[in-house]
């Protein structure tokens, strides 16, 4: 039997002084294979042309459509309504500036984080485009790609206890990026450099190991393992540095 779905959607325009955040209800008959992308598009086309949300690829690769789906951060485009109860509450992703309704500014957040963490490959030498490329171990290349698969959707930040308390916390997204460059033999940086970027309470030592990030990552990245490994490496580096500073060696 066809279900009738009730969508409670947060409506708010932060640029309008008269706007008060509220939940607005929209009702749709469920169709087979309906995703939240299909449902929200129908709501906009048939019921209310003014609802804000962000979809770009609608194929779960661009990271635009993360939102709170019945309280849990996730990608709306690949969420089938069949996996949800008939009452569906959609809220914007917390931890990011609200643009309107379900649309948040993850782009700005990610750019600021990348700039702060120097989250790009640091190339040691100029590249000769005409010569054979530098060889790379095939297993290492695949391992780097594993960590490169982050789509900057922001789910890990929304699910993070520390990020709720520390506005400058880099989140699992920041840590997985540096873990990725640390693993990459082409990156010229060493653990001393990474410690300078990540070795404080806004970095790897701010993580309380609640690991909400691991639970919600839509790409199933090994965040738990990577953060643990990074923290171990940064702690070792920090201790070595402290020892050297105090002259008592460790």
């Amino acid at each position: 039997m066809t279900r009738i779905l009730d969508f409670d959607i947060l409506r708010h325009n932060p640029r309008d002084a008269a706007s008060v955040p509220r939940l607005q209800r929209y009702r749709l008959a469920e169709t087979s294979g309906m995703t939240l992308f299909i449902a929200l598009t129908r709501i906009r086309e048939e019921l209310d042309p003014g609802v804000h949300f962000d979809f770009v690829c609608r194929a779960a690769v661009c990271g635009s459509c993360a939102m709170l789906i019945n309280g849990r951060p996730g990608l709306a485009c690949r969420t089938l309504t069949a996996t949800l109860p008939a009452h569906i509450r959609l809220l914007p992703l917390p931890g990011f500036a609200l643009i309107a309704d379900l649309s948040v500014d993850t782009g700005r957040w990610m750019r600021v984080m990348s700039e702060r963490l120097h989250a790009w490959l640091h190339v040691a030498t100029a590249v000769d485009l005409d010569a054979l490329e530098t060889r790379m171990d095939p297993d290492r290349a695949e391992a780097v790609y594993e960590l490169d698969r982050c789509i900057e959707c922001g789910c890990c930040v929304a699910a993070c206890g520390t990020a709720q308390m520390r506005p400058d916390f880099v989140g699992a997204v920041g840590m997985i990026k540096l873990a990725r460059f640390r693993l990459d033999p082409r990156d010229a940086r060493d653990d001393g450099d990474f410690f300078d970027l990540l070795g404080d309470d806004d970095g790897v030592f701010g993580c309380m190991s609640l690991l909400g990030c691991q639970d919600v990552c839509p790409k199933s990245l090994s965040l738990q393992t990577q953060i643990a490994h990074l923290r171990w490496a940064m702690a070792r580096r920090g201790l070595a540095k402290a020892g050297a500073d105090h002259g008592d060696g460790i």
Partner: protein
């Protein structure tokens, strides 16, 4: 009025735009990127299977070189491409792959020793040479004679876009996100930048620049079902069309990819077939060998798509009636079960995820429901080999938004992301040269910019809250239906005439679209209201180009004119839109057979159905004579069709290969 100056304004933050911006930055200029979305969310991210570059490292790629890549590209284009551009591209692609390797793309690498693969449905063992260990590997793709497609699993576009996105951040290149260009600022001869709208605040800004580069991707979303991202609405091409002077090239050349899932229309990569997957019909029969005994599933995309449609079409309409019925219409099966779970987990993991989340199936055990779906725009803003519009100085375009004409009437899989970075590398230099030349001097009075901003502002004020009687959603659906049904995989004169008439009507009606919300800041209803008339203009341009072109070439197939007609149609369609006109004006630019390195010939699919160009045989004999002299391949090539002098000097050197170094 808010005015912002930059040396180079880049509209679009995907691979082509980012690489161009990085290039001009490295030449000491100040670029500024405008993007509808955060740069890393651009549609480039969706490219899965890989990037063609003739590195020739892996065993099945040994012996590959620029000549082979060039010839595959020209044949793939059905001789519609600009061969000089194809030559420049084939020469640059290895440099682009190597640059990206140095910038962080974790390309899959060659593993020396024996490994299993599936070729033509059979398990075979391939032995990788010790000398190639750790070099960039490649997979097979359609329409190529060697394994040439470099990849990172099936997330190639993601890995490339993140490497370039990170590089742009490293070089402190500003990206204005959620900003949409609404009009190019120009005086009829020279482009000076663009008026752009902040999609959050609604504020208009005049961005003034010495050079403006449009890198906004394709126009797939004028079709009802497309593999394209939702933002690929052709607004870059529309910006050029609205100038009334710049021209669009070959807009009727629209590619349909054989394997998008049903019903969502999401692409699963050609790598599925490249890695050994096959297509099956309702009986489980592998049908492609019946039609194309040589290339089978790895024929060019246009060919496979047409064969699939033919195979599904009812018998009484001349087809085989072998489609699989479903609530969403008929489809066929893509079978990659033979590849095994381990291979899929490692090399086709996006495909696995897509199947899991959108279809609820496991492709290691289940067949994937697929059918041909709009995928790529070969047409776009017509430019010269430097990416500049010949009609509007200072306006450049690259990537899918452009028609410098690498793809002609059909693009080969893996040539799209390769084109974006190659074009970006080249435009970085050409645009910088332009800015440093006398032409690149900035000589604009702000009065012109003020006029353009005032015009756009007045238009938006008129539109917001306008009680028009037309529904933008309804008009859009009708446009999408017309394009899919009448301007799709198979076209004919009657259908196209109807399409042109109906699209013309929709365009007229779009002047009366109603917009309920009256506010000028973030307003999705307003956005659709101003984009739709532009999409309709593009749709009309595609349909009129298709109606006028009474031949079949590549992806443009006319049932009433099934032959490729080189005698009359070896020409590029040019379209412009006179201000106030209700339809575009078409004219044509001939391709010069006597300057082709690869004279027109039979492409090798189906029966030979070709009207020859009078010069083809003559040019072929010239070419044969030169080749018979047996000089080395570089010497022969430079005699036949010199191109290196057109490249920026830093990119002219030969590419090293294991076999050639």
């Amino acid at each position: 009025m808010k005015l912002i100056h930059a040396d180079v304004l880049v509209i679009g933050g995907g691979l082509a735009g980012l690489r161009t911006a990085i290039g001009v930055r490295r030449r000491g200029l100040e670029p500024l990127i405008l993007s509808l979305v955060p740069a890393k969310r651009s549609h480039s991210v969706a490219a899965q299977g890989g990037m063609q570059a003739s590195l020739g490292n892996c065993a099945m790629g040994r012996g590959d070189n620029e000549d082979a890549h060039f010839e595959d590209t020209v044949r793939g284009s059905d001789w519609g491409c600009d061969q000089v551009v194809a030559r420049m591209f084939a020469h640059m692609a290895p440099k682009a792959a190597r640059e990206l390797a140095a910038w962080g793309v974790p390309w899959n690498r060659v593993r020396a020793g024996a490994h299993e693969a599936v070729i033509n449905g059979e398990r075979v063992v391939i032995d990788e040479h010790e000398a190639a260990q750790g070099l960039i590997s490649a997979r097979d793709f359609g329409g190529t004679r060697k394994w040439r497609t470099c990849h990172t699993s099936d997330g190639t576009g993601h890995a490339m876009l993140y490497a370039l996105g990170d590089r742009a951040i490293a070089e402190a290149i500003p990206v204005r996100e959620r900003v949409e260009a609404l009009a190019l600022i120009h005086d009829g001869e020279r482009c000076h930048g663009a008026v752009a709208r902040d999609l959050v605040s609604g504020e208009l800004t005049a961005y003034l620049a010495r050079a403006t580069v449009v890198a906004t991707g394709g126009y797939g979303r004028i079709y009802g079902v497309s593999t394209n991202a939702l933002i690929n609405e052709g607004m870059g091409a529309a910006l050029a069309l609205e100038t009334g002077v710049a021209r669009l090239g070959n807009m009727e050349a629209v590619q349909f990819h054989p394997t998008a899932i049903v019903p969502a229309g999401i692409l699963v990569t050609e790598g599925c077939r490249g890695d050994g997957g096959v297509l099956r019909d309702v009986d489980g029969h592998r049908f492609m060998p019946d039609y194309e005994p040589e290339k089978k599933e790895l024929a060019s995309r246009d060919v496979v798509s047409r064969r699939m449609a033919e195979h599904m079409r009812p018998v009484e309409q001349g087809g085989r009636g072998k489609g699989v019925p479903s609530p969403y219409g008929e489809h066929l099966w893509l079978d990659i079960t033979r590849l095994g779970a381990a291979h899929i987990e490692r090399n086709l993991r996006e495909v696995k995820d897509i199947c899991h989340y959108f279809l609820g199936i496991d492709p290691a055990c289940d067949y994937i429901p697929v059918r041909p779906t709009q995928h790529y725009s070969m047409g776009g803003i017509r430019t010269d080999h430097r990416g500049e519009s010949p009609w509007l100085s200072g306006l450049f375009a690259c990537g899918e938004a452009a028609c410098w004409d690498l793809h002609g009437f059909n693009r080969l899989g893996g040539n799209s992301v390769a084109e974006t970075v190659v074009a970006g590398m080249l435009l970085g230099e050409y645009v910088a040269d332009f800015c440093h030349s006398a032409q690149g001097e900035h000589s604009l009075s702000s009065a012109l910019a003020r006029d353009f901003v005032a015009r756009e502002q007045a238009y938006l004020r008129r539109l917001a809250g306008r009680p028009g009687k037309e529904s933008a959603v309804e008009l859009r659906r009708r446009m999408e239906r017309i394009m899919t049904e009448r301007v799709g995989l198979f076209r004919n004169g009657d259908g196209l005439r109807t399409a042109v008439d109906e699209l013309g009507e929709l365009l007229a009606r779009s002047a009366d679209i109603g917009v309920r919300a009256a506010h000028l800041d973030a307003n999705p209803e307003l956005v659709l209201a101003y984009r739709l008339p532009r999409m309709l203009k593009l749709a009309l341009t595609v349909a009129m180009g298709a109606l006028a072109r009474t031949e079949s070439r590549g992806a443009h197939f006319r049932e009433d004119h099934p032959a490729r007609n080189d005698r009359d149609w070896l020409v590029r369609t040019l379209a412009r839109w006179e201000p106030g006109a209700s339809r575009p004006t078409l004219d044509y630019e001939p391709l010069d057979v006597m300057r082709m390195e690869l004279p027109p010939g039979f492409r090798g699919y189906g029966a030979r159905n070709l009207v020859e160009h009078p010069d083809s045989a003559l040019r072929q004999s010239e070419v044969d004579e030169l080749r018979a002299a047996k000089q080395d391949r570089h010497a022969v090539q430079s005699h036949l069709m010199p191109f290196k002098h057109l490249l920026p000097p830093r990119y002219r050197r030969r590419n090293a290969r294991l076999d050639e170094s």
